[in-house]
Point group: none
Chain length 433, copies 2
């Protein structure tokens, strides 16, 4: 339990450098039956509030382990946020483990009991004796209200660390974190938080290592910014992490750094606001009041799928002809049998006719086409697996290019083909008046 008295124990110079750890408990976490999305959510919220998260921990429902991990975390962190194990069943051991770690007994908490009783009476449901167990909290703990479920949370000082215990059900955790835990942590810190700022720059066309080399001078130039890379295949996302007292100064630093990165990477930069290829192309089409029709062979509908994931896509996306069969290429897109005979399905000329056909059929500003070999079979010496022909029909011309990729599987090829095709359109839209 922390009190105004204990808040005073945090010395002034420590106020703005609180360290937090996260602990996720439960057999489903330990065995991997559940992906731990709570930890990421809590970390994001804490970092946004200016609390530095130093470590994530996950253990199963074992009393000894739980108590030991809690003591260990309490020895390192100022604040700990724990989820799971507050339910009514026998495998819910967190309150007992917390009591053990704090070396106190458990006592019936009247506030917790009242809140559980209220939950059941409001729903006209009978309360079990096992629900009464949920009101047994470590001595000195303070109850955290749970408006969404039966399990009340609580907080408790273990050593010098204030530990916040919440249910593992995401909806209950989220409501308790925002409504109770974050304001309490803010009070604990004594106001005036450190700000953190994260910024993402999306890129396409370079590998992660080539991107890193182009940005080799970054750390010298911007020592106050922590730089990270994230592969969102086939895009590379560049991340800035900043921390400081003055939020507008952080924004200014980030803007300068974004400008620097932009100058180094040129058209490889998709967005300085973290938008992925589909959203960038969607934005450009809307901005230019243009419409799009697709003719997809090797990408098999993926480009249409990506574009229609963006809400509002009906404003610019008219039609995609996923013409897997040659007959469909001729019937729907008007590709000539001679072209298919002479050059085959995977060729610049075929792609050009597909793009022009899609554009014409849908009365669109642009027609974009893909034809290639995603694998694992179908490659030849001349056109190996990973070959793609991309064509774009614009109001003024039709052009095509052939690209070659060599990734491990069919899905990666489809994905890189789709994003490369959108990139051809993106560059055209950027150059258009």
């Amino acid at each position: 339990m922390f009190s105004p008295y204990q808040i005073e124990l945090i010395s002034k110079e420590d106020r703005h450098s609180m360290l937090a750890e996260i602990l996720s408990t439960g057999e489903e976490i330990r065995t991997g039956a559940t992906i731990d999305s709570n930890a990421a959510y809590i970390a994001r919220k804490l970092e946004e509030a200016g609390i530095q998260v130093t470590r994530h921990n996950g253990v199963g429902d074992d009393l000894t382990t739980l108590a030991a991990v809690l003591r260990e975390i309490a020895g390192r962190a100022d604040v700990a946020v724990i989820t799971g194990g507050l339910g009514p069943t026998a495998d819910d051991l967190t309150a007992e483990a917390a009591a053990r770690a704090a070396e106190v007994e458990r006592v019936l908490d009247r506030g917790a009991l009242a809140s559980i009783e209220h939950f059941f009476s409001k729903r006209n449901r009978p309360m079990n004796s096992s629900n009464r167990k949920q009101a047994l909290l470590p001595k000195g703990a303070r109850c955290l209200a749970n408006p969404v479920g039966t399990a009340p949370g609580f907080y408790l000082a273990i050593g010098k660390c204030t530990c916040f215990f919440m249910p593992g059900v995401p909806a209950e955790m989220k409501s308790m974190l925002t409504g109770e835990v974050l304001p309490l942590i803010d009070a604990l810190r004594g106001g005036s938080p450190e700000h953190t700022l994260t910024r993402t720059i999306t890129t396409f066309g370079l590998t992660e290592s080539a991107t890193g080399e182009k940005l080799a001078g970054f750390r010298t130039q911007f020592p106050e910014i922590r730089l990270g890379y994230r592969v969102q295949f086939p895009e590379i996302h560049i991340k800035f992490y900043l921390r400081g007292q003055d939020h507008s100064a952080l924004q200014e630093q980030a803007a300068r750094a974004a400008g620097w990165v932009s100058a180094k990477l040129g058209r490889k930069v998709l967005s300085l606001e973290g938008l992925s290829m589909d959203r960038v192309v969607a934005g450009l089409l809307i901005q230019k009041q243009s419409t799009l029709a697709l003719a997809e062979s090797c990408t098999g509908g993926l480009i249409a799928h990506l574009l229609t994931n963006v809400p509002g896509s009906s404003n610019y996306f008219l039609f995609s002809a996923v013409t897997y069969a040659n007959q469909a290429k001729m019937d729907v897109l008007g590709v000539s049998p001679e072209t298919l005979n002479q050059f085959g399905a995977v060729h610049e000329e075929t792609a050009r006719e597909m793009a022009a056909g899609a554009r014409r059929r849908a009365h669109a500003t642009y027609g974009l086409a893909t034809s290639g070999i995603a694998g694992p079979d179908g490659g030849t010496a001349e056109k190996p697996v990973g070959t793609v022909c991309i064509a774009l029909a614009t109001p003024g011309r039709v052009f095509a290019r052939r690209l070659y990729y060599n990734f491990a599987d069919r899905l990666r090829h489809k994905r890189v083909f789709a994003v490369a095709a959108l990139d051809v359109l993106r560059r055209e839209l950027l150059a258009a008046p």
Copy 2:
């Protein structure tokens, strides 16, 4: 590094009780920018292999912290599986941290260098000097091949713990875990006389809790099988975990249990071999020597994308018309303007004309169509967001049905619409002669 010699160090009684910890590294993990799905995947695979996972850990890209956490884990576990930080950029610090924790230098690993060089030469791509950095491994480490990406993994003994280091990119991690790490751990354990067997039954059409209720008697019926559920949205996968001396007895138990589940769930079962909807439909189309054309409105190309993810899809998948615009529905599929005027785009009648049009256009055995409202906007009182009309044109008839879902977002709606449409086709194919 472990060697046959070190395997001998593990005493006989310890062989079957190896304890493992998982460590996820990276700023995106620490700050919660990424949900850590790797840890759950690794935990599942280790538990399936009979290795007990005791703890999950997550830290950022900080050399001192990384080295300290590695030493700490090495003091507790027999095996550690670490992901992230093996890339070519300056924030990739894991190899350095491992060297520090093991108190060895880093040396250029010829095997790792050769594997990186091979990756680039195979792709005709130039290799950067930063990629050379990826071949600097702690002295005594052994390289783990990465067929999917540039970053080789490695393993190394830190104290009595064998630590396996893998890239954080999920596809690379998964291939390395299955291909290299699990067999090595198995060897390390000294070959287990106990077999483990995992079996997956895929289903569609019930929620996880409804599935659980239908299978309530399972544990009494099959006490020797551990049952698990996994949501692979919108499919629910049922998992059997078995362990025992006699492999064929395990297979027999699993087959009996699969039969029991099958009787309880009927046509909701997609596959007793763990196949997802796209593969099940692909298999049925091939088996019935049938072809398919699609007319996709609300699913926006997703059904075509799912089907073309399956290699060999050109054998049965002819064409999808992703007709987002009404004009395209009329022009390409021959939907009548009167139908669109009278009923609107989202209606059984429109869907029927779309399905018949797609089937006719592509000369396919079946025509499957979707028209609906994925959201977030576009819903009305009569047709709320989540409404989908699915129509199927077969050689003998054209029929449609209207379904209603209420999920949180556009992507989930697209996905459940697509799988529900494939389910209509699947049931038709199962009933067909």
